[in-house]
Structures are given as structure tokens and as C-alpha cells.
Amino acid sequence: MATTVLQSAYESYLKMDLSKVLGAWIAVSHDKIIAVGKTPKEAYELAMKIDKTGQFLLTKVNSKELELL
């Protein structure tokens, strides 16, 4: 079945070893982490230098139980 850029990045994310990026915001393009930042803006800006299409997956890697509002 054909997958989109997002679906492909999501499936890659689910399989990744994220132990070195716990707590960080990361950008995933295809099957690679292309940027890591303390904030989404930092990760986004780094990722945009590598993938100018902006078609990467930007997400926070949880390092603890969620603390919401």
C-alpha cells in the first residue's frame, strides 16, 4: 500500500532507538533523525536547512510521564 511522507516518517519513528534524544524535539525525515533541539523551533529551523521542503515529522520525545496543563 502506498504511504505518504508523514506515514513513512511515523512508521520510522515508531521503530527508532530514541535513547539518545530523550526529552528533545526531533525532526524525522524518511527513516532518519535530521535535527534535534531543545524546542520545536530549534529543531524545525535546523531541519529546514537539511530538508527545505519542510516535509519532516516534528515531535517531542517523551522522557517522563506527561505533565499537562
Partner: protein, 142 residues
């Protein structure tokens, strides 16, 4: 057709596993799109994102959109605006929903919260907690 996702899982060094119901979404702003994982939060009335993400999306954050949000034990100045969310389904199906979104100061939020208003009206959502799966069954809405 039902869209199925797995919970995301993080393995911590101490052996603990964190599993959360996050799903892949496209946030659509003014001429900008962000592919993200959004946390489905049944306890949240509406969607919330951080201000820096709203700025990347070029959402309207003018002063007239400012509002006070009362959370647990504190009052926060936030912005009330709107954005679109795209959920990619199977066989190329696209489900697009316009949602109200609260934009929070960066230090107050570290997740993309997908709350109930508008989004949960667009799908029948099932959390299969034991199997760590989420099922979204789209409604036929116009």
C-alpha cells in the same frame, strides 16, 4: 474506513516504558504546514499548541485574540485562534478539520494537545489501551 495507529512508546534507561496515544497529523496554518505527532487528550476541551509552533504556522496571534486561560492553580495569558488539522487515512483519503486552538506560552506546554472540540466530532475514536492502539472512524461530514 477506520484509521489505525499505535501508541508511541519511549524506553527509558531505567527500563520504564512510556506509551502515549499520539497520532501523526498535519497542522495547517497560513501558507504553512507542520507534520507532527499530536496527543489525543479526552480530558482537554480543545486543542492547544505552543506559541513557537503557532508562529511557524503563521497563525493569527494578534492582541484581540488574547484571552485568559485558567489552568490548575494559575491564570495564563493565551491566544484563541483557529487552525486546520489533516488526518491522512488509508488509500489516500484525507480528513481535514478546522479546530479552535489555544496558543500557550512556550514554557507552559511541551506537547501538541488534540482536545475534543471539533476534532472528536469528526471521528468515532476508540482507545484500545491494552493493545496500545487508537482507531479513528471518520464521520461523513461535509
Amino acid at each position: 474506513m477506520t484509521i489505525r495507529f499505535r501508541y508511541t512508546q519511549t524506553d527509558l534507561p531505567n527500563g520504564t516504558k512510556i506509551t502515549v496515544p499520539k497520532i501523526p497529523l498535519i497542522l495547517v496554518g497560513k501558507n504553512k504546514r507542520l507534520r507532527v505527532l499530536g496527543l489525543l487528550d479526552t480530558g482537554s476541551t480543545q486543542c492547544y499548541i505552543r506559541k513557537d509552533l503557532a508562529e511557524i504556522l503563521n497563525l493569527n496571534l494578534s492582541d484581540e485574540m488574547k484571552t485568559d486561560v485558567t489552568t490548575i492553580g494559575q491564570k495564563i495569558v493565551a491566544w484563541e485562534t483557529r487552525m486546520r488539522i489533516i488526518v491522512e487515512g488509508t488509500h489516500g483519503a484525507i480528513h481535514e478539520i478546522t479546530v479552535p486552538v489555544g496558543v500557550m506560552p512556550n514554557e507552559k506546554l511541551d506537547e501538541i494537545i488534540i482536545g475534543r472540540e471539533a476534532f472528536f466530532d469528526a471521528f468515532d475514536i476508540t482507545f484500545a489501551e491494552r493493545r496500545k492502539r487508537i482507531m479513528l472512524k471518520p464521520h461523513n461530514i461535509g
